[in-house]
Subunit: 213 residues, 2 copies
Amino acid sequence: MAKRRKVGNLLGLAVLSTVIVAPMHPYEIAATLRERGKEDDMAIKIGSLYTVVRNLQKAGFIEVADTSRAGARPERTVYRITRAGVAELVDWVRELIGEPQPEHPRFKAGLSVAAVLGPEELAALLRHRLTALEEGSVARRRAAEGYAGQVPRLFLLEGEFELAMREAEASWVRALLGELESGVFPGLEMWRANLAELSARNTARHEQEGERS
Amino acid sequence: MAKRRKVGNLLGLAVLSTVIVAPMHPYEIAATLRERGKEDDMAIKIGSLYTVVRNLQKAGFIEVADTSRAGARPERTVYRITRAGVAELVDWVRELIGEPQPEHPRFKAGLSVAAVLGPEELAALLRHRLTALEEGSVARRRAAEGYAGQVPRLFLLEGEFELAMREAEASWVRALLGELESGVFPGLEMWRANLAELSARNTARHEQEGERS
DNA sequence: GGGGTCATGTAATAGGTTACATGATTCT
DNA sequence: AGAATCATGTAACCTATTACATGACCCC
């Protein structure tokens, strides 16, 4: 039962974790997050930054440390984290790490209605997915090796985790694919029969019955 | 680059996959989905059903097949899938299965800011997560065994997938936990030092500098 | 007669993203 | 001179969820 937070957007988490290191103005926060590749890493839309910063401030998790300006440029408002902000950040991380939450990857949704495709097509799609997964893994592994020397392992955990999950997904897909291709997957006949019936009913209907208003 | 669909809500997918089997009225659809446990399975809120049904109809994916009433009860509007609806459903499933989309589990977000906790606390949280994961797996496996005789394997794929992913996550967590507990995790000293410095700065600040408006 | 379930729908709200608007500075 | 980047913010919008509103029927 994930707690309702005053600022629920995960971008808020990223912001807090950035300003805890050093006070910063929003643009700088954005630059920092982009640099670390959090953009695609987490589900973060930097466009929402100013909104989220305002919300964090309203909730008392960050406060204005300083406002400076250089020349006639717009004012830069530097924010720092408050004690309440530190507490919120820590509590939030505790929840995210300690309590597994039911997740719903889109692939699972797809699998749950896989029956509307035939076995051959499902196999073809799985092959496609598999190559995409593998290519992605290669790219990520290369990137990870690049960081490996520069950044302490502590900051690479998410990447390692994602790679592990990808690999697990790939091998599950490979296994299912094997069953489909070799024909040992149970119930292939019934599957095909049901599918044929379904598509017959749903394409022929209009011709057979006509429309009724 | 996931396509923008006229009806993007995954509940729409569930509805289409239900009415392709047989025309139904919304309440019946809801009952069917609940029965199959799609509620927690997918990220579906049955409360949005009538809205989604209306949207699907507006988009031409379903149409009214019949309206009947029993006594003075509210009219039951029976919907059936259209040819466009069948096409949409199939296309949607193809996308969900064929194209891996970057997913962002909350655990990953947590890991990405794990540095704000100390190694001992992280270990404790991981232990907690691990037991929760294991308990969940046991429950799911039991449930799966219940269905196993009744429902063809084809309709249990999502469940199998989820179990596999849970197991993979658990073993990754176990490995990390091992490293932390045995002390072989690299950079423990620096981690502790940085953390101490951070928390010193962020709790002592107000006393040292005072507030400036 | 009262509670649960059948059955439908609308309206308000929340949450987040995108588009827009502005203007200075710095690099090419 | 023109483009990219620095820097900020607001307003509109879209989407989804929740709460509300209604009323009949059925079982105890």
